[in-house]
């Protein structure tokens, strides 16, 4: 896939099928460590240890247990091609977290791409679910600690350190107007892209 945002869409579709109510996508760039980290976390049905272990292996998946398909092996391959790695943490009934790291400046790393399209599609096509998307540039990996916040953003002083999109906020504003309305979907895509463009360009994410 030519954009990491397409891998993210693909992995988030697993969360949709896992019956998740909330999916969090966090994209963090660590320029000092030349690293890009993408985490997709859901509160869906989860997988047992054996399934989670095998989920990243395209040859493990058998027809009868094919819930995941080629999406995870694909993301893993893309991560490893840039000197990174992919990890899956899952527990039945609680959810799944997929984390992939990439070499930020590696020549084989695909650009993040159109996250506006990815998030607005997920939100509009699954109106009963909620999605959170965070993008930030962090000083170093120790700083962020995955607490969900955007503390530690390298240049938060000038307000350009991070961006958060949350469909729960959007729905609150919409006050009953469906999030699946095409005009709302188009709004969300450009809202996300316009507000993250500067950061993505500045750090070549």
């Amino acid at each position: 896939m030519q954009e990491l945002s397409l891998n993210i869409l693909d992995i988030a579709e697993n969360s949709v099928r896992a019956g998740a109510a909330l999916v969090r996508v966090a994209v963090r760039a660590f320029p000092a460590e030349d690293m890009l980290r993408i985490a997709i976390e859901d509160d869906g049905s989860g997988m047992d240890e054996e399934t989670a272990k095998g989920a990243a292996d395209p040859f493990y998946t058998t027809r009868t247990t094919r819930k995941v398909g080629l999406g995870l092996p694909y993301l893993k391959m893309n991560a490893e091609l840039t000197g990174g790695a992919m990890e899956i943490a899952s527990s039945p009934g609680r959810g799944t977290r997929v984390e992939a790291t990439f070499g930020l400046g590696h020549i084989d790393r695909a650009p993040l791409g159109d996250m506006g399209q990815t998030m607005s599609l997920l939100a509009g096509a699954n109106p009963e679910m909620d999605f959170v998307y965070e993008l930030c540039v962090c000083a170093d990996t120790g700083d962020s600690a995955d607490s969900g916040g955007i503390a530690g953003a390298a240049d938060s002083a000038d307000g350009s350190g991070g961006f958060v999109f949350d469909t729960r906020e959007v729905k609150q504003v919409l006050d009953g107007v469906p999030i699946s309305e095409p005009e709302v979907m188009a709004y969300m895509a450009s809202h996300i892209n316009e507000n993250t463009k500067e950061l993505i360009t500045a750090y070549n994410i």
Partner: protein
Amino acid sequence: MKSLEELKALRDKLQGEVSLRDDGDDKTKVLVGMATCGIAAGARPVLAEFVEQVATRGLKNVTVSQTGCIGICQFEPVVEVFVPGKEKVTYVNMSKEKVARIVADHIVGGSIVSEYTIGSRQS
């Protein structure tokens, strides 16, 4: 810069329109296959273009959503159009460029764009 204020304005505009509509089966549905095969073949920009076209034309009673893999991966991106009271039409090997014509001819005009359909690929 798109802000929440803009979303509020959009809500106010849509609130009037949405309430006039039926949520029932009188809607035209556009479904884009969005499994790994579809995404890899370029389904996301196709769906985004349908959303854009429907939004800018202000088409009411049209929904754009996604579906999974329907088993014809070699024909992805695949788009299914359901017009109420008509048979489902399946468009294959879709691209962003083909979307405008399907919206104009089929969804607005009511005539199927036969050369983009799966039927045109089977001899």
